[in-house]
Amino acid sequence: MSTQSAHSEAAGHGSPGPSAQAHGAHDVRAHVKVYMMVFGALAVLTVVTVAASYLDIPMGPAVALALLIATVKASLVALFFMHLKGEVRSVVWTLLLTAVFFVALMTIPLSWYFDGPKHPEGTGPTARSLTTHEAH
């Protein structure tokens, strides 16, 4: 049997249960209350995001609002359910690096539009002139 579990059991409360590690049983009990509050907040924000979709606002602000609410919800899940709040540097730095690459991933295809607005019928990658070879 691995020596590690015996080692950590000795460091724990002597019962055949999990040892303290990063979270003691008392810490976890405090966390449970937070989990329930986050659940409530997520449910409310889901209702808010649906309600907001009924507002008569232009597309740009609608997208920004939807993504803002989604980002708040995602942050709650990440910080509290995924324990990012108080997590070690290796994880946080990994995620910051991921965020940089994610932004690059989103931006590179949008460089299609860097040389100006396109024809209203669309000259993006789904435009017919790129798939059929008829004369324009």
Binding site: A25, Y35, A43, M59, I69, A74, T94, G122
Partner: protein, 198 residues
């Protein structure tokens, strides 16, 4: 002679974590790029299309709203299953993990109903670019839900034997499975407004 896998419970001095935890975060980082690539495709397809339907014109918003709540609930029950183990309550763990698995089945069932109604109206992926990217995004997400369901079922069933022999390592397995599950929830948190509400 067998050699124990190192750092399944004790943290590595350089990373400050047990190995599986950093491993799963690195995996999730790669998953961010996978779904990011598809979201990026969605953005480009939509902005370059001459016309694009509002999600609510084609998709069932109330049904997806319920599904969103189901998945969020499953995230809560998942983290509660881990917390129960940390509080040395195996019974509660079984209960919460069982609820997580039930919620996952619920999500997939509702998704199957949604897909079914689409297909019965001949709204297949090939019908339009909107439907194409909708089915790819939600289909890939659904496959991720199925994957998590299989892992969670194993950890609820035969995998739970490890609680008796290596409880710390088992709790860490639940934590790592939970991180994956929360990520699946995270993706849906973005998918729902983007596809259904905009």
């Amino acid at each position: 002679m067998s050699v124990a896998i190192p750092y399944t419970t004790d943290p590595r001095p350089d990373t400050g974590l047990y190995n599986a935890k950093l491993g799963v975060w690195l995996f999730l980082a790669s998953e961010v790029m996978l779904f990011g690539a598809l979201f990026s495709s969605y953005i480009l397809l939509r902005t370059s299309a001459p016309e694009w339907p509002a999600g609510s014109e084609i998709l069932d918003v109330p049904v997806a709203f319920v599904n969103t709540l189901v998945l969020i609930a499953s995230s809560v029950t998942m983290v509660m299953s881990w917390a129960s183990l940390k509080m040395n309550d195996f019974g509660k763990y079984r209960l919460y993990m069982g609820l997580t698995i039930l919620c996952a089945f619920g999500f997939l069932g509702i998704k199957a109903y949604e897909y079914g109604t689409k297909f019965s109206h001949h709204l297949y992926p090939a019908e339009s670019t909107f439907l194409g990217i909708y089915f790819v995004l939600t289909g890939l997400h659904g496959l991720h839900v199925i994957g998590g369901l299989i892992v969670n079922s194993y950890l609820w069933g035969p995998g739970a034997k490890m609680w008796k022999t290596e409880p710390d390592r088992f709790a860490n397995r639940i934590e790592v499975a939970g991180l994956y599950w929360h990520f699946v929830d995270l993706v849906w948190i973005f998918l729902f407004p983007v596809l259904y509400l905009l």
